[in-house]
């Protein structure tokens, strides 16, 4: 507990006619010994020396900076005591308007503004008072990276990891390294000028790994399980000669892809005759010198296959075939994990760019022989970016003919194959006679078919919600591609996204950096993305734990395991510090040193709620996600989009951390309503902790039920989705809610 707090008011940045000396006096009077220093300073940004002096002279544990938002100048205040901010500029003075909606007159602050500021200062003091400096949950941080998959991406990752000074353990399923790259005769362009196919030099890449004493390779091997946490995982590997167990700090998942099942391409003739093949097989035949065909059609338009798959799905639905359902565990029975097979026809479409580039490369290889005539038939030539240069060069290549075409039929006729082409660029439909048809290969990520990593986690051996990404081990974040739902495991290459060779190499490097960073963070006991550097972690008071398992089940990152009795076993290294666990806990036994149930509850109780609703207005609590809603509120303030003076805003790490007790605290304190402002949820979720806002919305339904039972209108507690760019709409959102509350009248528990 921060026992001695210095409070500073930033004269320059508060304004609004607020009497800061009076606020300071009120703070001194109310908090007494807790706040031995209370100062009004002309400009906070110029007062760092004063504050540092106070910290030393008065042995302050904390300083409370009342002025602009912590988002404005927060980085200026790196001090030796805990720092708290009271946002009196953006979210108080600048966003203030009178209860009737009018702007405040110049001069002295209206009373409602003074009450607002006073509440916020008191809430700030109590927040800091209930906050401790986190100690650290550091672990050794084993400087060894596990790379799963020994193909193009995995080999790159292993070499790069070793070049950073880490030991590497590489697990490869097959009997030799190289993966799919072994079957590629030549690679797509790997470097500037990006105009020519290039040898992959896969043998050299393999040699760089096998010849490196810091890289240990296991062939014919697979993961048995991965247990523990970042910095100190234990990987059990089933390899030739039995099972081995190895300590690793982090994992790069580069397990690649398998080819889409032939059945999906059967509507295009695959399997009906040997003259119809796939790009992957054709590549291998080329490597093995087995290609004799002289007229070859590469078909990129896969509409036939896609429509057939759609039709058969529709027929299945019409015939009432039940969708496969995962086995339900009976009461008291341990759930058995059954991997849902996520392979589907969409993998063909998702592989469009890899196939477009791949077919150019293959066509280029065979067309080197002048006797060979190659046709490429496409719907969209998906050769994005710099690879256009490669495409351009191929267009000029003799012996390669390319056209947009709707391929409507492929059939064996005599000793050749006829490809029916419609809507071509030649101004006519035509049938193309060829010796061989090459169809695209669908890249199905290995993670769509199996739980490759085999996590020994309470939440199961697989990444959660893989169906959202059709089985790819991708993050849902455009800005942060490496963040999987399992901390310390970073996916790269085609298991994450279908990618060309150059992109896979780059991806491998990125994933290695994240792995190294994770090990380093674990060794310092701090969080990784998105709260990187945060030293706090959830602490459990097991005495009061009832083993209800809610925390274990709800953690978006599977950070918690449990023992036979169901007592949670925290793994701070896996934790992202969102607080969803303590939001879940009905016994409130989980806390962070600097963020906990009692702290926020105390802040809520610190607000002065007037008894007379009619005369002095309602009070509404806003719990705002600090990632998106809070900045949006700041920007609304800066843009002078003022909102009702009756609301009190408390930022939370994530709506997932909202515990129902806070709502009860607010209602019993006499608040008339509670707004929960959080990120978008559902398939395109924007929640930084993946599940927080969604979980909160479910908890809110329970809260509504409880309120209903108590005779309180459930509409007094509502959750709203607020994106960070919703700054111009947010004040209307707040005012709308406040208006509805005013119509409802006072909280029946007010004053009780």
């Amino acid at each position: 507990m921060a026992g001695k707090i210095g409070v500073y008011f930033d004269q320059q940045n508060i304004g609004g006619g607020l009497d800061l000396e009076a606020l300071a006096a009120q703070t001194r009077e109310k908090w007494g010994d807790v706040t031995p220093v209370v100062r009004v300073v002309p400009l906070l940004a110029d007062s760092l020396d004063v504050i540092a002096g106070d910290i030393a002279a008065q042995s302050l544990n904390g300083v409370l900076l009342c002025g602009s938002s912590p988002r404005a100048d927060g980085d200026l205040y790196r001090l030796s005591a805990q720092v708290g901010h009271v946002n009196l500029r953006e979210q108080c003075v600048l966003s203030y308007k009178n209860a009737d909606g009018s702007a405040p007159a110049c001069g002295d602050a209206p009373e409602l503004l003074t009450l607002l500021a006073r509440d916020y200062v008191n809430m700030g003091v109590v927040r800091l008072q209930k906050s401790e400096n986190p100690d650290s949950a550091a672990v050794t941080g084993v400087k060894r990276i596990l790379v799963i998959g020994g193909g193009w991406t995995g080999l790159t990752a292993a070499t790069e990891g070793a070049a950073c000074g880490y030991e590497v353990v590489l697990v490869e399923k097959a009997g030799r390294l190289g993966g799919a790259a072994n079957d590629i005769p030549v690679g797509s362009p790997l470097e500037s000028p990006w105009t020519d196919k290039q040898p992959t030099n896969i043998a050299d890449k393999i040699k760089a790994v096998t010849g490196n004493s810091n890289i240990r390779v296991y062939l014919n091997a697979r993961m048995e399980k991965l247990e523990g946490q970042p910095g100190e995982f234990t990987a059990s590997i089933a390899a030739d000669g039995g099972s081995v167990s190895v300590e690793v700090g982090a994992v790069v998942l580069a397990s690649g892809w398998t080819a889409l099942d032939d059945k999906y391409l059967a509507p295009m003739g695959l399997g009906k005759c040997p003259k119809i093949t796939t790009a992957a097989r054709f590549g291998k035949q080329l490597v093995d010198g087995e290609v004799t065909a002289r007229r070859i059609a590469f078909v990129l338009d896969t509409t036939m296959a896609e429509e057939a798959a759609q039709n058969s799905m529709r027929d299945a639905v019409l015939q009432g075939q039940p969708e496969p359902v995962a086995a339900q565990a009976k009461e008291g029975e341990e759930k058995v994990f059954i991997k849902e097979d996520l392979e589907n026809i969409r993998h063909l479409a998702y592989s469009n760019a890899v196939n477009s580039v791949g077919m150019l490369r293959l066509a280029n290889s065979v067309a080197a022989n002048e006797a060979t005539q190659v046709f490429i038939l496409y719907k969209n030539m998906t050769v994005p970016g710099i690879f256009e240069r490669f495409y351009k060069k191929m267009q000029e290549h003799l012996g390669i003919m390319m056209t947009k075409a709707d391929v409507t039929g492929i059939a064996e006729v005599g000793d050749h194959v006829v490809v029916e082409c419609k809507n071509t660029l030649l101004g006519m439909d035509f049938d193309l006679d060829v010796d061989l048809v090459v169809l695209p290969t669908g890249l199905v990520p290995t993670t769509a078919k199996e739980a490759v990593v085999e996590f020994a986690y309470r939440q199961g051996p697989d990444f959660p919600d893989m169906e959202l990404f059709d089985g790819f081990a991708d993050s849902n974040y455009i800005c942060f591609p490496y963040e999987t739902r399992r901390t310390g495991v970073y996916a790269a290459g085609c298991v994450r996204q279908p990618q060309t060779l150059d992109a896979c190499e780059e991806d491998a490097r990125g994933a290695v950096l994240k792995a190294a960073q994770c090990i380093d963070s674990a060794s310092r006991g701090v969080a990784v993305h998105p709260r990187s550097g945060d030293a706090s972690y959830p602490v459990f008071n097991f005495v009061r734990c009832t083993q209800c398992k809610r925390c274990t089940e709800e953690c978006p990152f599977g950070a918690l395991d449990d023992d036979e009795k169901g007592t949670p076993k925290p793994n701070p290294g896996r934790c992202r510090r969102c607080g969803t666990c303590f939001g879940a806990c009905p016994e409130r036994v989980i806390s962070f040193a600097d963020y906990n149930i009692d702290q926020i509850g105390s802040m809520i109780r610190e607000v002065v709620v007037p008894k007379d609703f009619k005369k002095e207005g309602p009070r509404i609590l806003i719990l705002a996600c600090e990632n998106d809603a809070y900045p949006a509120l700041d920007m609304a303030g800066m843009r002078r989009k003022a909102w009702s003076p009756y609301v009190r805003i408390i930022p939370v790490r994530c709506l997932g951390s909202v515990n129902a007790i806070w709502v009860s605290d607010a209602m019993s304190k006499g608040f008339d309503g509670v707004m929960l402002l959080g990120c978008k949820y559902g398939g395109d979720y924007q929640c930084h902790f993946v599940k927080g806002s969604e979980i909160c919305s479910k908890r809110k339904e329970n809260i509504a039920e409880t309120l209903n039972r108590l005779g309180v209108q459930p509409e007094r507690v509502e959750q709203f989705e607020v994106a960070i760019d919703g700054y111009d709409a947010i004040s209307d959102l707040i005012d709308g809610f406040v208006g509805r509350i005013i119509e409802m009248g006072p909280n029946p528990f007010k004053g009780m």
Binding site: S68, R71, A72, D73, D75, R78, C164, S192, W194, A349, Y350, S351, N352, A353, N380, M381, T382, V383, P384, G385, I386, F387, E388, K392, K404, N423, F469, F472, Y477, I478, C479, P481, A503, E506, D507, A508, R509, G510, L513, K514, A516, Q517, S521, V528, H529, P530, S532, G533, M635, M638, K680, D684, Q686, H688, A723, I724, D725, G726, Y727, D728
Partner: protein, 411 residues
């Protein structure tokens, strides 16, 4: 000797490279030429495919910087000189004058009382800005800029007297010692005035895709309403002209990677605001790589969006502020002449270094992309290396950070 890493460019690639390296324990300097970090993505309204706001990801990046003393950044800064070699570079950086105090002063009142105006480059000329300005609500650093040439005479008097403004602040130069360099100088929209057949930027109601992002942005010139610049009216017929400059050896001899996806995204913007609007997309190929095909199919399923494979030959001004397009339908072989309320040119990305002479020992290819430098301990990231979308840029920035870290670590 310094083991720090210099990152040139504070856009998404540079931010990523810098922060990822710093979070692995390395000291990093970001040198950004504009007054704020965030680069091109700061100008975007939404990202494809999720249609989420870019400022959300930027906010996380800025938080990471605020919390991490290892990241130091300079805005309005240019690298002007480089000496030394791999492992030991001395970089000269010129800092232009911002004329505002180094903390987050709320200049709102003063700024709106000044009368001098200039074209707002952040909105690509769709709006004006004053002399004292902050281009975006989520600006980081949260500081205004005083552009002294834009001050009127009376403004200047007012500014002289204002607290926290320093009109006499002079540019200065600093030196940084670093061991490795990441170049993430990004891209610029291709200059439409060079697209003479597409109206050269002179046709009313023919905007570029980046201008469209500003029109759709809640902080943009119209508060997010997509309207015709000439009269502020909601357009009922809209055409997208793909490959405006890209895939054209007279202009950009490559595909700009993002324009198809950007136009699909913008179709969704328009359809959301005005479901009755008739939209036509003229394209050579619809390039929606990987799982982005889901967006393509979503837009193709919209009732009022149609796609025509064909290159637009001509864009000219028509009466009633309409725009006339001449298009060759590549499949039907027909030549079409059509009129639209609004035309969007999907202009491509050109590397920022094209036509520049950066004081860095970097080989550039004929289009201005960085083509090497690794042996000197200099690593290109993001669109300075090739056209990429944001996810690939993040990948590229992280990868470049690794190479820089390896260079520094070996010493």
């Amino acid at each position: 000797m310094s083991k720090a890493i210099l990152v040139v460019g504070g856009g998404f690639a540079g931010l990523t490279a810098a922060i990822e390296a710093a979070e692995l324990g390395h000291d990093v300097y970001i040198v950004e030429k504009s007054p704020w970090l965030g680069g091109r993505v700061a100008q975007l309204n939404k990202y494809f495919p999720k249609l989420c706001p870019p400022s959300c990801g930027l906010e996380i990046q800025f938080q990471r910087i605020r919390k991490n003393p290892r990241v130091k950044f300079f805005t309005m800064a240019d690298v002007v000189g480089l000496a030394g070699s791999k492992g030991s570079y001395t970089v000269r950086v010129r800092l232009r004058s911002r004329h505002t105090a180094p903390h987050a002063v709320d200049f709102n009142l003063l700024a709106s009382s000044l009368v001098g105006e200039a074209d707002n480059e952040f909105d690509f000329g769709l709006s004006k800005r004053g002399a004292l300005y902050k281009s975006m609500p989520f600006a980081f650093p949260d500081r205004y800029v005083l552009d002294t040439p834009t001050l009127s005479k009376t403004d200047a008097t007012q500014a002289e007297r204002a607290k926290f403004l320093d009109l006499s602040e002079q540019p200065r130069e600093i030196e940084l010692d670093v061991a490795s360099i990441v170049v993430a100088t990004g891209w610029k929209p291709y200059d439409v005035t060079r697209l003479t057949n597409l109206g050269a930027g002179k046709v009313k109601n023919c905007v570029s895709n980046m201008q469209m992002e500003r029109l759709a942005s809640p902080a943009g010139p119209t508060g997010g309403r997509i309207v015709r610049p000439s009269d502020g009216r909601t357009p009922h017929s809209v055409a997208f002209v793909q490959c405006a400059g890209s895939r054209d050896q007279n202009h950009l001899n490559y595909c700009s990677y993002i324009c198809c996806m950007a136009s699909l995204k913008q179709c969704l913007y328009i359809a959301e605001q005005n479901p009755d609007a008739e939209i036509t997309v003229y394209y050579i190929d619809l390039r929606a790589p990987g799982r982005y095909v889901n967006v393509l199919e979503k837009v193709q399923a919209l009732p009022n969006v149609c796609f025509v494979k064909g290159k637009v030959a001509d864009v000219v001004q028509a009466g009633d502020d309409k725009v006339t397009l001449t298009v060759e339908d590549a499949v039907r072989g027909e030549k079409l002449t059509l009129h639209y309320d609004l035309v969007v040119l999907a202009t491509g990305m050109q590397p920022s270094l094209a036509g520049e002479n950066p004081p860095l020992p970097l080989p550039l290819d004929e289009d201005g992309f960085i083509a090497g430098g690794e042996e000197a301990g200099i690593f290109a990231a993001g669109c300075a290396r090739m056209p990429l979308d944001v996810t690939r840029t993040a990948q590229s920035g992280t990868a470049a950070a690794l190479k820089a870290v390896q260079t520094v670590k070996g010493r």
